[in-house]
């Protein structure tokens, strides 16, 4: 069957392209929702794409004392995020790297991206880079456990940590969506998404005050195409996280076979689901103030406890 691998490859290229354009569009959508909630007209939704195109043509600058780590980090971030996108079942239940489509692999690939950016922040040799790296690794150290245990809760319920398997199992058992372990894991994952994607209340992506920056401070030294890669990597990460939350908890609409109408439907449904979740995230962002840095561990510990409760509920309630 030579058509099947080709079809899978085609769907994967489509999926990668969708996340690479969809990530910036989601950022633009969230900015638009925020602007409207503030009563402004706001930039058009495609504005992040225009920003990326302009950045790609600018000059590359490296800080004088930096080493090879500084130009290497954006490449590692993009490669790791793209690999995670290739693994995740977003449009169809048969991603390109289906033989290695494990939930824990996605978690660790995202960690690889974070570590690369943190090392780049330290490589710049400035106080801002170190501050950003320190805060980002502190938050990551507390968000990682919650993410891992929430993913484990889903794996225990589905009987496997293979991502397509979890999606297919949820499709086969629709009543799982209302099960207590799913609900608890969803709450934990939503809090972790706020932390991993750097949104209010954890981090303000549009702040100008260096002392309030977490992620921005690490990328203060980047210019031109490397900045475009880092920004695109962060946008893809947000898109991937939102799409995974959508597909692991509400997978209806995903293409189970590789026929063209199913794939188009899958893409449309994915876009609608992630747009809805992104809108919800933006509304939550507008309604809350950013937390003090030393309050963030409290909210992340809450996410961890919720995730542990999800696992315990799953073990106790299983027939």
């Amino acid at each position: 069957m030579s058509a099947a691998p080709l079809a899978t490859a085609g769907v994967s290229v489509l999926q990668l392209g969708a996340v690479m354009t969809g990530g910036p569009l989601l950022y633009g959508l969230m900015a638009k929702v925020r602007a409207r909630a503030e009563g402004r007209a706001g930039a058009p939704i495609r504005q992040p794409l225009l920003d990326l195109r302009k950045l790609a043509g600018k000059e590359r600058i490296h800080a004088g004392n930096s080493s090879a780590v500084l130009p290497l980090a954006p490449l590692v971030l993009i490669a790791a995020t793209a690999a995670a996108v290739a693994i995740a079942p977003l449009i169809s239940t048969r991603p390109a790297l289906g033989t290695t489509a494990d939930a824990f692999v996605v978690v660790f690939l995202l960690l690889l991206g974070s570590v690369a950016v943190a090392l780049a922040g330290l490589d710049a040799g400035t106080a801002f880079g170190g501050m950003g790296a320190s805060r980002a690794m502190t938050i990551g150290a507390l968000a990682e456990p919650a993410l891992l245990v929430a993913v484990l809760a889903l794996s225990i319920q589905a009987g496997s940590s293979n991502l397509p398997h979890i999606v297919l199992a949820t499709l086969a058992h629709p009543q799982w969506v209302a099960s207590p372990e799913r609900v608890l894991a969803l709450f934990a994952l939503v809090i972790v998404v706020f932390a991993e994607a750097g949104r209010i209340p954890v981090d303000n992506p549009s702040t100008h005050l260096e002392l309030t920056m977490i992620h921005e401070a690490m990328v203060l030294e980047y210019a031109g195409p490397e900045l475009a890669l880092i920004t695109l990597g962060e946008q893809m990460r947000l898109g991937l996280l939102l799409a995974l939350v959508a597909n692991l908890f509400f997978p209806w609409g995903i293409a189970a076979a590789a026929s063209v109408p199913r794939v188009v439907l899958g893409l449309a449904v994915l876009a609608a689901k992630t747009a809805a979740i992104a809108g919800g995230v933006a509304v939550l962002e507008v309604s809350m103030a950013k937390l003090r840095l030393f309050r963030i561990p409290e909210i992340l510990s809450a996410a961890f406890v919720l995730a542990i409760l999800a696992v315990v509920t799953g073990l106790v309630v299983t027939p």
Partner: protein, 667 residues
């Protein structure tokens, strides 16, 4: 054939020790290095033969140790540890050949290092109580003496004291356990003990296990018996600390597995739940202190405590599942634990060798004084970086493969439907998850502050690259970090055989064949080779896209500092400031010791002359448990001193009273 290789290897090691002690100054270090490396190669070959064939090498000689003879028996379980030690030993020999410190070139050090490595190779092969204890003591004494090569420094003497007391207390506990097991066994070989073990009463068996656990867990660095580790490993010279963390702590794990699963035949559930509890405590404690430490080698030592905690969780889970009758699940957990042992030795050995190079080049281990070493020591820094990425469990390196296997072991273990085991596994999962994040923070700090950025002191700016032999030693350990990460499936059948030997019986193979990791009987699979290919393709494509769009080279200019006129290296974050948010979050556990000295000007108390702030994080267990115990012991000693008042008459009186009591008792 394999027996000859094994005995030959041990003989070559002894020859290396002799060469190091006897030869003149120029020749002794290279000769010892060559002979020790040959010993490691021979032992590796013998152990590999055992693992591939699944058989056992048995050697008995009645001549070497009088009264008891020497009994060696290398089965697949011991072979895994011999292979690990052989690779680390070969790398360390190569490194030591180029290590420039004067203290390691003396006759004592050059002779003791091969002896240490040989004893590390001997312990997993020992098959009788006498051989085992002889090898164990040889290992302890040679490492203690190597630690004392730095005896001019008070910290090294202090560390040696702690190490000596704790390792010998542990050896006493182990010996007592063996005596309890073997007292009526009719022979002191492990075979005889195993045959007799079912005849012991449960109370004696449990007591023996608890004693053996105390001794071996102390060697492995399990909380609360770990306090020697963060003192001894940093003070030891570079090659010695790599051996201690990369090979010696493994033998603690080997001892627990051999005693619990092998000699005592599985045991009871509460034994293994205790092991899991020790593992959880060690993992969390070690990771936390590593994240908060600004001394490079102390950070690595606490990270060893953390990793050994994870291995203990795996071993405990395996034992608990075996007691419950789930042989396949137990085998999976044991394979995961053994794989973590192998990977930890490779990357921790590489990290310690790198730390040794850094300490020698820059003159300090304090991360707050380092920086910019990627430019000064490029090869050492690159290899340190590979090992650091591996210990953070990042794909595609070996740490990721073993962490994935551990997670799968826990995930499968939940299906065993036993409440106690499930609670233990839940604690294990929580510990694994928490330590993952803390380890990443610790090693971003170690690599980022130590090697990236600008040098914070002139000493760091003047550091030079290490000798080629030292870099070659590190490279030898970095290769398994990459290879075992990309094709972990190749060693899985060997580890499954070792797990089968450890647990007894012939459990089914927990993993399917292939270069990746695929759990038998489920759809959980990961192909790191494919992932690596995708990652490299992604890197190359992204790089090509950048170069196509902007052909000109990057402009080098001053770092952006808000336009300030003067930017210095002192303005960078230090390791202490990097760890400060985490330290604040865990303040209740860490309880840093803070001191502020303010001196005022003579003219007026309102003007300050100098401020001195001192902050130190002590080991919480040492502060909370050991210091009160030591205080109690010294107070008791003070009381007992009153009996020694110097009067000859009183001493004669004591002797007379003891004689009278003895006569009364005997009569």
């Amino acid at each position: 054939m394999s027996a000859t290789l094994l005995v030959g290897g041990l003989g070559l090691g002894a020859a290396g020790a002799l060469a190091g002690a006897a030869l003149p100054a120029r020749a002794r270090v290279p000769a010892a290095a060559v002979l020790t490396a040959a010993a490691c190669v021979a032992s590796f070959a013998a152990a590999a033969g055992v693992l591939v064939s699944g058989g056992t090498i048995r050697v008995h000689s009645a001549e070497i140790l009088p009264l008891t003879g020497v009994t060696l028996s290398l089965d697949p379980l011991g072979a895994v540890f011999v292979i690990t030690t052989a690779v680390v030993g070969a790398a360390v020999s190569c490194y030591a050949a180029g290590y420039p410190a004067r203290s390691m070139k003396s006759r004592a050090a050059a002779g003791l290092l091969p002896m240490f490595i040989t004893s590390l190779l001997l312990v997993p092969a020992a098959a009788s109580i006498a051989t085992f204890m002889a090898a164990w003591e040889l290992m302890a004494l040679s490492s203690l003496l190597l630690l004392l090569t730095g005896h001019r420094r008070p910290e090294a003497r202090d560390a040696a004291q702690w190490y000596a007391v704790m390792t010998h207390a542990g050896a006493a506990a182990i010996l007592l356990a063996f005596v309890l097991m073997g007292a009526h066994a009719g022979g002191q070989s492990f075979d005889a003990i195993r045959a007799y073990a079912s005849g012991l009463s449960p109370a004696v068996r449990s007591l023996a296990f608890v004693l053996a656990l105390a001794g071996f867990a102390s060697k492995a660095g399990a909380v609360p018996l770990h306090v020697w580790l963060p003192r001894a490993h940093p003070e030891a010279p570079g090659p010695v600390s790599a051996l201690m963390s990369g090979a010696m702590v493994n033998l603690g794990i080997y001892g627990i597995v051999r005693t619990g699963d092998g000699l005592l035949g599985g045991g009871e559930l509460w034994w293994w739940l205790t092991v899991v509890a020790l593992g959880v405590a060690s993992a969390l404690f070690g990771a936390l202190h590593a994240a908060a430490s600004s001394d490079l080698k102390r950070l690595l030592a606490y990270s060893t405590v953390d990793n050994m905690g994870l291995v203990l969780i795996g071993v405990g889970a395996s034992g608990a599942l075996a007691v419950g009758g789930h042989a396949a699940l137990a085998a999976l957990a044991m394979v995961a634990a053994l794989f973590q042992v192998m990977n930890h030795s490779a990357f921790k050995g590489c990290l310690f060798l790198g730390a040794g190079s850094v300490q020698h080049a820059a003159g300090t281990r304090d991360l707050d004084c380092l920086g910019g070493l990627l430019r000064q020591l490029p090869a050492t820094a690159a290899l340190f970086g590979i090992a650091a990425l591996s210990i953070c469990a990042l794909p595609p390196f070996s740490g990721f493969a073993s962490e994935w296997l551990l997670l799968q072991g826990f995930l499968r273990g939940f299906s065993a439907h036993s409440a106690a085991t499930a609670t233990a596994l839940l604690a294990g999962v929580a510990a694994l998850a928490l330590t993952g994040g803390l380890t990443a923070a610790a090693f971003v700090k170690a690599f980022g502050i130590g090697f990236l950025g600008q040098p914070r002191t002139p000493a760091a700016a003047a550091a030079g690259e290490a000798a080629p032999a030292m870099v070659a030693g590190m490279a030898l350990l970095a290769v398994p970090c990459v290879v075992l990460g990309v094709i972990p499936g190749t060693v899985m059948p060997l580890l499954a055989r070792a797990a089968g030997t450890a647990l007894g019986g012939a459990p089914p193979d927990p993993l399917r064949a292939g270069s990746g990791l695929a759990i038998a009987g489920s759809s959980d699979v990961v192909q790191p080779a494919l992932l690596t290919a995708v990652l490299i393709a992604g890197l190359v494509l992204a790089w090509a896209l950048v170069r196509v769009r902007v052909r000109a080279r990057a402009r080098r200019t001053e770092a952006w500092g808000c336009g300030r006129e003067l930017q210095t290296a002192r303005m960078q974050y230090t390791a202490t400031s990097f760890a400060e948010p985490l330290q604040r979050v865990f303040d209740d556990v860490l309880r840093p010791d803070r001191d502020l000295d303010v001196s005022h000007l003579a003219e007026s108390r309102y003007f300050e002359d100098a401020l001195r702030y001192h902050s130190r994080i002590d080991d919480a267990v040492e502060r909370g448990w050991y210091r009160p115990l030591i205080g109690l012991a010294s107070r008791w000693g003070e009381v007992a001193r009153r009996a020694q008042n110097g009067s000859m008459h009183r001493y004669l009186g004591y002797g007379f009273a003891a004689l009278v009591v003895l006569l009364v008792v005997l009569a």
